[in-house]
Symmetry: C2
Subunit: 576 residues, 2 copies
């Protein structure tokens, strides 16, 4: 068990190793970051000011041998939404923190000096070093340099130029074992790290205490069963490993929930140009890798190495949401240019959902033409990367573009961009987007699972009935899952296969010598959501913020249904 | 009494004349706009969307012969603050609406067509005409053209390019009898008018029913006494007529509340370069006019005609706040360049408080150097006027600049810029800025009157004690005064001279045949504040928004006091 907290104070440039308070000991991942933020960050503070903190916490199972368990959570008050934020990512940083026995890393304060720092974490604690060598550099160059000059084995957490500029779409990038990029994507954690003037954090787990298990035999048995459940399930065993998350493209298009031309239509006749099947063919034909894991122990391998026609690396972690939102929603018909845009967003360090919707919103505002991939790339590379005024507008996300240009067709909730599933046609998502403590976030309660894929039951996607309950159940389960360190992708077998669900708490029991039950998992999820919601309310978010933008009252072809879910029904979400 | 409502529907391009509902009959000005907005605008609507309305209502005494009574209120949901807004202005539009018997003008809906309109109001009602002739033109050119091509006698309400761009600092400009510009300055009413695609509203009062008085003799007697009170008072009778509102410069500097270099200091050694005494000398030496009224019946004449060294017109309505905020707060030391900036802000149609603080915030962000007047002018003229990306950032106000550049030293409350009085040293203003339903607004509860000028009593400006009560009393009185059509400047004698206070309700009684008492005036003010506050709460504003920015905890020289007023004490404001 992680037995220490590393506290880094950027005001005094000091670090400390602290014991884990008793009431934090049973927590990990999102539960721990959200509890720490709730306890230590004043809800009304300026997210870019001295009172915000940036908290990293590996999940309860992170660092163990169970498959797909290496997630790391980042928590902070979001400069994008004004509320609490938890964003978890793969890559190797989380596993290395666990190997060092670190339960959480808490970064607080703001340096007085106008310079930049590296925070290096190793077995004896953390060391802050002034380091301006990589200022202005992109993540790929930074990761490569650290791998070459320091160690390719270290975990790295870094910000690109967007984080340096404190753009609210700035993410925190995580090095994967091959030097590629994963992201704590949403909510502007990179901007918070930028205010603290930390360009990158390195983690050397050499000599760390490693992971001990209270009941190794039980752990092994449960882990084996869990892995089998993943491999046997059609989505985690077949769909995701072959097409990545872009396996969703044809499914969502078929459902009529495929946001097209800034959420004007629910289907796109050009879907073949960008769908998962096409992508897989392209990757295979170019000798790329369609199935690549972002961290040690991943057997789903929903990432990939996307190459250009010459077989040169273009990008990895090329997600459905990015492809869909730049594809159908911005009308880019060329997967290669979308891949280049994905690369540049990773390199600059911006959330590729927020960045993609900022682009479609810019098209709505007349800044560039619909479908103009070259100009999209140029805006990212030549405006956002450099921080020109237009780059700042774009880099601060879709809401920023909408505000700057005075337009109202802006798909955001709590100022965070709505992802690649139209809430009118998969109405469980409408509730998730509206009420999530995170702002519009598909991962907070992935309603398509039940609304369309019929996983964990079925709720008719086009009807209002049952969506609040569905979203509530999913959000509670997700909040718990986000606390375990397990990748959200495991939710498919977990919702479908009873032994995969029980395995989650039995693994935690075997790891820590506990005796948790299914009820404890639900109780954890509820506690997390309620703590986050309470923080948001103190921060000034109300049920007026739990609403979709006005324009969603427009009927969406082909089902021609608008969003007119009554506010008081939405608010029932919180009755638990 | 205004006996009709003009309703203009920009969706259907139709207009209607409606009777005044009974419960609106006793209301005028701010009371009426706020009640109409509260009743007809959904609090959660998008301020730039189809459900917002733009309401104009003359005050209860507007159009009568009593001095300084011609104010017109504009009400709407603010795209700047997200809350309700009332902004009142001089000029002649209000008086002309009253002469036509119009109690309120309500503009609703959004046109479908991508074009622009003129709304012309005359004795038979309103007519909407497509009119793109002046699109992109500044207010001065527009007002001149209307005066020459149509009639110099008409009232005009217009937006400049900023309103066309739906910038949230866009104001609604009002023609004064000489063709100069007054403004419904704050809160982005120009952006709302821009969404409705109305470039300008013209008002021809020829043939209107005019104003009738229930008790002409009483009215005349009260009006005479009221005028004498104004002329006899040192501020309205001497200070304002000679130096305009810039009479405040030396007083506020002396008090140590003169925001300097983005609220870093409370005094400025260069105050002599921009103060009212200097300004008056300059104007007189250049044969300008130091004492000019913005409307018929004004005897305070706090406006002026500021000329260049050759005696050519530069600007008018040159207010202390603009001069102070571009002067000390942005370190511009040249009154002539400040005057040019004031002109260009009026011409583009942006609130000169919001615009000036956007400039000092841009200096804070490193966009231009402190004190660079030429670049300030260029940014306004070449970026804001044209709507470049940087122009959009600036034109959306100080909060927008802060967000775009990720900085935290941004003096706003509810996203509206704090005016030219530091809240740390005149602490009644701290409460007014924090709790006002309007966002940071000195006119909502002009605490310097009592904190420094000892008008209406005295509350020690540097102590916390008594400020909530002071601000509450002032805000209640102001909400009532803003409903009468009387200029806020009359508050000085009204607070000091009992007969000037009683005259206000006696004038209303004589005008309408009522029997209001002092208690009714207070009750009206309370009703207005509570209605506005309820709207804001439904719109999603909470007591978390009733706070000053974090950086005000810094001690302000020379008194070296920071703002650390406890939140729960601030919230006591609403206990009435």
């Amino acid at each position: 068990m992680g037995d220490k907290i590393i506290r880094v104070n950027m005001s005094s440039l000091t670090t400390a190793i602290e014991p884990v308070p008793e009431h934090w000991q049973g927590l990990g991942g999102r539960a721990l970051t959200s509890v720490i933020v709730t306890e230590e960050v004043p809800p009304q503070c300026d997210p870019l000011g001295k009172n915000n903190k940036l908290v990293f916490a590996p999940g309860l199972l992170t660092g163990t041998a169970v498959v797909n368990s290496g997630r790391l959570s980042a928590g902070f008050k979001s400069p994008l939404t004004g509320g609490i934020k938890e964003s978890n990512a793969g890559g190797s940083a989380g596993q290395k923190l666990v190997k060092l026995g670190i339960k959480a890393l808490i970064i607080e304060g703001l340096p007085l000096k106008d310079t930049w720092y590296n925070v290096h974490i190793q077995k004896d604690g953390a060391v802050i070093t002034e380091d301006t060598e990589y200022v202005g550099k992109g993540n790929y160059e930074l990761f490569k340099a650290i791998g070459e000059k320091r160690s390719s084995q270290w975990g790295v957490l870094a910000i690109g130029p967007a984080g340096e500029f404190r753009m609210t779409s700035a993410n925190i990038s995580v090095k994967d074992p091959d030097g590629n990029i994963r992201s704590h994507g949403r909510g502007g954690g990179g901007a918070v790290m930028g205010t603290k003037r930390i360009k990158y954090i390195t983690i050397d787990d050499a000599g760390g205490p490693g992971v001990t298990l209270a009941d190794p035999e039980k752990f092994k048995q449960q882990a084996r069963m869990f892995a089998k459940g993943l491999l046997d399930h059609p989505i985690t065993g077949h769909g995701l490993p072959t097409m990545g998350t872009n396996a969703m493209a044809n499914i969502v298009n078929e459902a009529g929930a495929f946001p097209t031309k800034n959420f004007r239509y629910g289907q796109w006749e050009e879907v073949d140009k960008i769908c998962g099947e096409t992508m897989q063919e392209v990757i295979v034909s170019r000798s790329g890798n369609p199935s690549h894991g972002c961290q040690k122990g991943c057997i789903i391998k929903c990432s990939q190495i996307y190459t250009d026609p010459k077989g040169e690396y273009v990008t990895s972690g090329f997600e459905y949401e990015t492809i869909q939102l730049l594809g159908a929603n911005a009308l880019l018909k060329d997967l290669d240019i979308i891949a280049k845009c994905d690369w540049v967003m990773d390199d600059i360090g911006i959330d590729s959902i927020e960045g993609s919707v900022a682009i479609s919103t810019a098209m709505e505002a007349g800044i560039l033409d619909w479908g103009d991939g070259e100009e999209t790339y140029r805006l990212l590379e030549e405006e956002v990367r450099i921080g020109t005024p237009l780059g700042r507008i774009l880099g601060n996300g879709a809401g920023s573009v909408g505000k700057a240009y005075g337009i109202t067709r802006v798909p955001t909730v709590k100022n965070q961009a709505i992802p690649a599933y139209d809430p009118r046609t998969i109405r469980g998502f409408g509730i998730t987007y509206a009420v999530s403590t995170m702002g519009a976030d598909h991962t907070a309660g992935y309603a398509i699972a039940t609304n369309i894929l019929k996983i964990g039951g079925f709720v008719e996607p086009l009807e209002d009935d049952g969506q609040v309950e569905l979203s509530r159940n999913l959000q509670i389960a997700t909040a718990a899952l986000d606390s375990t360190g397990l990748c959200l992708m495991v939710a498919f077998p977990v919702l479908d296969v009873p032994e995969c669900f029980t395995a989650i708490y039995e693994l935690i029991n075997a790891r820590y010598g506990l005796s948790l039950t299914a009820e404890d998992v639900t109780a954890l999820g509820k506690m997390v959501l309620k703590a986050e919601h309470a923080f948001n309310q103190k921060a000034g978010l109300t049920n007026a913020h739990d609403r979709l933008p006005e324009f969603f009252d427009e009927p969406l072809p082909p089902h021609n249904i608008g969003w007119n879910y009554p506010g008081d029904k939405i608010d029932e979400f919180w009755n638990f």
